[in-house]
């Protein structure tokens, strides 16, 4: 990473060129260029943030931004920059007005079919009125009903979805209002919008950071970057350059993150949209999201049904012309047939079915924001899951201990049941005391009733873990602390001369912020007035202080064997992805008895030849239900990919723990270790699992990423940045997968938005992520996703049944009309009665199919392939129209003939009497027995026919669902 940034990457400041550049020479070209510009912008946003300000020395920084590090900018200069760069605010994306959204609901997808139907109806009515005075109003009614149905369902789905899509607003909520800047040596409170690049800004605990800052001086400053990086622990900030990656270095603070404690001063290096947060916000709101699978399915369905309707309509148009009808009549028939093919009730049925499932899912902790997303989860073939909080419990817990040369396992389950270990050992007693006393964490007051594991604590995650662990498995920490008052301490985050070392070990041992070591001195509880010095910290550092070790309560001089044992234990625990702490102590000689004034700045007491006690390792353990859920996903053919900002070893350990890397599968590195050959010699194809590091991912081309996604079934991405998450999602989508992404941080929001279904966390999730997502897991539990998948698949199956059910009634509705045309029999089923059937009696049973329970193998089959496994395919249409529809139509006709025959009109006499039957003034229609009927009599009759006709249909249909294969497999 060079100073100027690599080719193909951009510094944030270059992203906002002055608007003048955009102006093209010709008006015509301008728009095109603008669009192109926007596209390249998006591409650039997907790349990594490249900053080099954190590497600059303070002098360089001062020159770069031409600012005095003590006095700040002059107000005039600030004004100038403000004018040039614009205000420090997030630009909202061009919003679509509400009425456009409403119209989209009203005219999109399925509705368009019904609208066309309605228009055709009005057209037919118009023709009839124009050429015949005494025309029936059937077509008018039909048209109106269709229009009303579309409008009602349109309003319904608009209402359902109006609540979502407030991404940019939620981002803006994160931005602070005021900022404290120093201009021309004067501190002043200004609006955040007026902060400019180069401003000298001061922040203190509780503030939101007003822009991206390069820190120049700090006092115990800690920031909470959780919204940006997903790491929940506050992180220390100092003016020193500690990491190549700007997201990890200590001397940069990010726009809209929180300063938790301390104060800091820094120079603004980016404002508004060019900040890291701004880039994420722009990226998120600017992403173009693809169609949901169900929308694609409905489109496919419309094509099919239009094809069928058109084919039938045109062929009968031709036929009726051949039969000698006038062209006008033929046109009316054509329209009639096309409209009769439109399943009027289906739109409402689908909407209601989806809503019902959405309701059911929300009872199972999956809150669905977008109705169509209900089904998406069922089609999901890849889940990119976040680790922290989703797969894990999101709290550090003591997992292992090593003392007396043995590794003991602690209980990490959520309920804290079972497992005990050698609590009788004296070493355990001492270890527990150190862990309890040399610990700054404490329980927050008033939670005595809660189980220990659930109590809230102050202090960082590892100390809290220790505190809870000791409280649980040893005795009350509070009592211990009372009996052994603390006399002096050197805490984690002190800014003393040990600082550089801390950094060293922080990186070596992967221990966060200053966990290198902590020392405290306590009064002995036995009343001997003596003091004991206790220390905990990174194991190898602790070992350096020790000359003896404790075994079963007795001190032995440190020897090579012990060191070897220690190394093995340390490696083993580290290999489990756990955070390891070492513990040691020293009984101070009597010269340091009670009353001695310990000075922690200029150390006036011995700090060597301590006695090593043991190791305690901690991990954020997986949730209990997760391994099972992952197993279910796997058997359901869903690939689970872990994407985490955490370290590869921890990620891998958790992945193994929850089954994302299944037992027996190994990565290329594992294989190399087993075969004892270098990694380069192993065949990466043989390794099904892989752990990809974010820094490797950064240099990969998309082909390489495709290669990885294709060839490995078990993938873990570690140390990934927000942009990389997005790249991974896009990679999966390139493979044709339907991707679900879980995430909670702001950093996840681009991926959440891009994913086919974004799943945000209800408890730990940030507001932004919830806005960007399609679904919210109310209990943050991965296992709920599995329930969601099941529900999604179920609704797909059930929708199939509903649609098949609705479609079958099309044939018994159309055939009477066709026979009416061809054979001139009295029309058995009128338009209005068809409407009653479609929107009345047929809708309820169709909706009831949404309550069908799942097939037993619903979670055992592979996810459907969106390309050829459609909601409505030829097979379903063939079955609904060709087979079941035909049976129903025949049954209907049989009833029709029976009723007419039993009342006097024998079937043979019905042929050709259409005109007389329909004629209002033909009032002596003679039946087969010589009786004469007036027009009204005929009409009353039709009502009866319809009733019977339909009730018979219902009977045939109720048996039908049993036979309807829920999911026609591959075509024969």
């Amino acid at each position: 990473m060079g100073r100027g940034g690599k080719k193909g990457t951009v510094t944030p400041r270059e992203l906002n060129p002055s608007p003048r550049l955009k102006r093209g020479p010709k008006m015509g070209k301008r728009r095109k260029m603008k669009r192109k510009k926007k596209k390249t912008d998006m591409e650039e946003l997907k790349k990594e943030v490249v900053l080099d300000d954190h590497k600059l020395t303070l002098e360089e920084l001062s020159t770069k931004y031409s600012v005095d590090l003590m006095m700040g900018l002059s107000p005039e200069r600030a004004q100038e920059i403000l004018k040039k760069n614009g205000p420090n605010a997030l630009t909202p994306p061009p919003t679509t007005p509400e009425w456009v959204k409403f119209c989209r609901q009203l005219f999109g997808g399925f509705s368009i079919l019904l609208w066309i139907g309605a228009i055709l109806c009005f057209l037919a009515y118009g023709i009839q009125v124009h050429y015949k005075e005494d025309s029936t109003k059937d077509n008018l009614y039909l048209g109106m009903v269709l229009a009303i149905v579309v409008m009602i369902t349109g309003c319904f789905s608009y209402y359902q979805e109006a609540k979502s899509s407030k991404i940019m607003e939620s981002f803006r909520n994160m931005v602070p209002q005021q900022a404290l800047v120093i201009r021309a040596g004067e501190k002043m409170q200004i609006n955040v919008e007026d902060v400019v690049v180069g401003d000298l800004v001061e922040v203190k605990g509780g503030d939101r950071i007003p822009a991206d800052l390069r820190l120049i001086s700090t006092q115990g400053c800690k920031v909470d970057n959780s919204s940006l990086t997903g790491e929940s622990e506050p992180q220390t900030r100092s003016p020193d350059f500690t990491h190549e990656n700007p997201l990890e270095t200590r001397n940069i603070c990010f726009f809209s993150t929180n300063c938790v404690e301390g104060t800091a001063r820094g120079i603004v290096i980016a404002t508004g949209d060019s900040t890291v947060m701004g880039r994420i916000a722009t990226l998120t709101s600017g992403l173009v999201v693809g169609k949901t699978p169900i929308a694609a399915e409905i489109e496919h369905f419309i094509q099919l049904i239009t094809g069928v309707a058109g084919f039938l309509g045109v062929s009968f148009f031709v036929l009726s012309l051949i039969l000698g009808y006038g062209w006008l009549e033929a046109v009316i028939f054509l329209i009639g047939i096309i409209v009769a093919n439109v399943p009027e009730g289906l739109l409402a049925t689908v909407t209601v079915c989806l809503t019902l499932t959405a309701k059911r899912m929300s009872r199972k902790n999956c809150l669905v924001k977008n109705l169509e997303a209900v089904e998406t989860l069922g089609s999901t073939s890849t889940i990119c899951s976040d680790k922290t909080g989703t797969l894990t419990q999101n709290r550090m817990t003591v997992a292992h201990m090593w003392f007396d040369k043995t590794i003991y396992e602690a209980d990490t389950s959520e309920e804290q049941t079972g497992k005990t270990f050698a609590k009788g050992s004296t070493t355990w007693f001492i270890l527990a005391r150190i862990a309890a006393l040399c610990n700054r964490a404490d329980f927050k007051p008033n939670q005595e009733t809660l189980p220990i594991a659930k109590r809230a604590t102050t202090g960082d995650a590892s100390e809290s873990a220790l505190l809870k662990f000791i409280e649980q498995s040893y005795s009350s920490v509070e009592e211990m602390r009372e009996q052994n008052p603390k006399v002096a301490e050197i805490p984690f985050n002190s800014t003393n001369k040990y600082q550089p070392r801390q950094e060293f070990c922080a990186r070596r041992a992967r221990i966060k912020a200053g966990a290198c070591k902590e020392m405290s001195i306590h009064l002995q509880e036995d009343g001997s007035q003596a003091h004991v010095l206790m220390m905990k910290g990174a194991p190898e550092r602790i070992l350096e202080f020790c000359s003896t070790y404790l075994l079963k309560g007795k001190e032995y001089p440190m020897d090579d064997e012990m060191k070897k044992n220690f190394q093995n234990a340390y490696l083993e625990l580290g290999g489990l992805g756990e955070r390891v702490l070492g513990f040691c102590f020293l009984n101070l000689p009597s010269t340091f008895s009670k009353g001695f004034r310990f000075n922690t700045d200029e150390i006036n007491f011995p700090m060597e030849n301590l006695c090593f006690v043991g190791l305690i390792s901690m991990i954020d353990p997986p949730r209990a239900a997760v391994p099972d859920a992952v197993g279910k996903c796997r058997s359901a053919g869903i690939k689970v990919i872990m994407v985490t900002g955490d370290h590869p070893i921890t990620a891998k350990a958790i992945a193994k723990g929850v089954g994302i890397i299944s037992e027996g599968n190994e990565t290329a590195e594992d294989m190399a270790a087993r075969l004892q050959v270098p990694v380069s010699q192993t065949n990466p194809r043989e390794a099904k699992a892989i752990v990809v590091h974010g820094s490797d991912l950064k240099d990969m081309t998309s082909e390489q990423l495709d290669e990885i996604l294709k060839n490995h079934t078990e993938i873990v991405f570690a140390r990934t940045s927000p942009q990389q998450k997005l790249i991974i999602v896009e990679g999966c989508q390139r493979q044709g997968a339907v991707v679900a992404v879980t995430g909670d941080g702001v950093n996840d929001s681009p991926a959440l938005k891009k994913a086919d279904i974004g799943i945000a966390m209800g408890i730990s999730g940030s507001d932004v992520s919830k806005q960007a997502a399609d679904m919210i897991l109310l209990d943050d539990n991965f296992a709920s996703i599995v329930t969601g998948v099941e529900e999604g698949r179920l609704i797909f199956d059930n929708l199939k049944k509903s649609i098949a059910y609705t479609l079958t009634s099309n044939i018994p509705e159309i055939t009477p009309f066709l026979l009416f045309i061809i054979l001139s029999i009295p029309l058995p089923l009128g338009t209005i009665t068809i409407l009653c059937i479609d929107l009345g009696t047929d809708m309820v049973p169709a909706i009831s199919l949404a309550y069908e329970s799942a097939e037993s193998d619903i979670m055992k089959r592979a996810p459907r392939n969106p390309k050829n496994d459609n909601l409505v395919n030829n097979r379903l249409i063939g079955m609904a129209y060709g087979q079941i529809g035909m049976i129903q139509a025949l049954a209907g006709f049989f009833t029709y003939f029976v009723i007419l025959a039993e009342n006097g009109f024998k079937p043979i006499d019905l042929l050709g009497i259409r005109l007389n039957w329909e004629d209002r003034f033909f009032n002596d229609l003679e039946d087969s027995y010589g009786q004469q009927w007036d027009h009204r009599g005929c009409k009353v009759y039709r009502g009866h026919i319809v009733c019977h006709h339909h009730s018979l249909n219902e009977e045939t249909e109720s048996g039908k669902t049993l036979r309807l294969a829920p999911r026609p497999r591959a075509h024969p």
Partner: protein, 280 residues
């Protein structure tokens, strides 16, 4: 952008071609010959079976039918009234007195209709006694005579033009046949013109009486040469001077408590309204 579209168009064209005939798999429209054969065979057998089933059930149903009387007769408890001849448009008799072509159709229809009522045709029919229902036990059912002269001026005997050429046309009013209908009381057809002064109405037979001897009717098959009782209405306009005379006539069944003549939904139940327009 256009390049891409073009390619995709070519691609889709190629896809279509492949769909219509795929030389590698021998698939035609997505199926191989064997698959097509099988599916056609299936539908052939399936529809064949359905057709057979349908025919059988229809046959069985027809077996249950009585040839003489329909199974249900509750749909028409009370007869409707109709007029004859049937006007060209709706229920408007419109003609020009001076133009015989304009009423030729009516006269022909009437003649044809009254053919069975001529005396030669009625020779074999029974001369029933007036004023009582003519109930029969079978197995042979005889029909009562309806002497054409009962219709007097409208019988076509004296005036072969049924009054049309004189501007006072005859219209026949008849009650629909209903099997087993037995009217009570003294049924008669009463006709009134909506505007008393323009035209006077004469009904034949006298007072529009329908004799009970024509009831009950036993159906087409049993009651072979049954003659429906008729009532003729002659419309005579008072003011012959004006060029166009127009009158609306309403006829109702009256005098029989079990024959309804008022139904909101059925305008022809026991009543009929027609219009006569005679141009000079």
């Amino acid at each position: 952008m256009t390049k891409k579209e073009k390619r995709s168009f070519n691609q889709s064209l190629a896809e279509w071609k492949l769909f219509i005939y795929n030389p590698t798999t021998g698939e035609f429209l997505g199926r191989t010959a064997k698959s097509w054969g099988l599916i056609l065979l299936f539908y052939l057998v399936f529809y064949g079976f359905l057709a057979a089933l349908f025919s059988f059930t229809m046959w069985a149903m027809l077996q249950t039918l009585n040839d003489e009387v329909p199974k249900y007769r509750d749909q028409i408890p009370s007869p409707g009234l109709t007029v004859f001849p049937k006007p060209v448009t709706a229920l408007e008799y419109s003609f020009t007195v001076s133009d015989p072509e304009s009423y030729k159709g009516y006269i022909e229809d009437l003649r044809k209709f009254l053919k069975p009522y001529e005396s030669e045709e009625q020779k074999n029919l029974t001369a029933c006694s007036d004023g009582a229902l003519f109930e029969q036990k079978g197995p042979v059912y005889s029909a009562c005579q309806f002497p054409l002269p009962l219709l007097q001026a409208c019988s076509g005997v004296d005036d072969p033009d049924f009054g049309y050429s004189r501007g006072s046309p005859c219209v026949l009013v008849k009650m629909n046949r209903i099997i087993g209908l037995k009217p009570q009381g003294m049924p008669r057809i009463e006709c009134t013109s909506k505007s008393e002064n323009t035209a006077t109405l004469s009904t034949y037979p006298f007072n529009g009486v329908i004799d009970l001897k024509y009831f009950p009717y036993y159906g087409k098959k049993l009651h072979v040469s049954y003659l429906q009782p008729l009532v003729a209405v002659q419309v005579s306009f008072n003011a012959t001077s004006s060029t166009t005379n127009e009158v609306t006539v309403e006829c109702k069944i009256d005098g029989s408590p079990n024959l309804k003549n008022q139904d909101d939904r059925d305008k022809f139940l026991g009543r009929v309204v027609f219009k006569v327009i005679a141009r000079a």
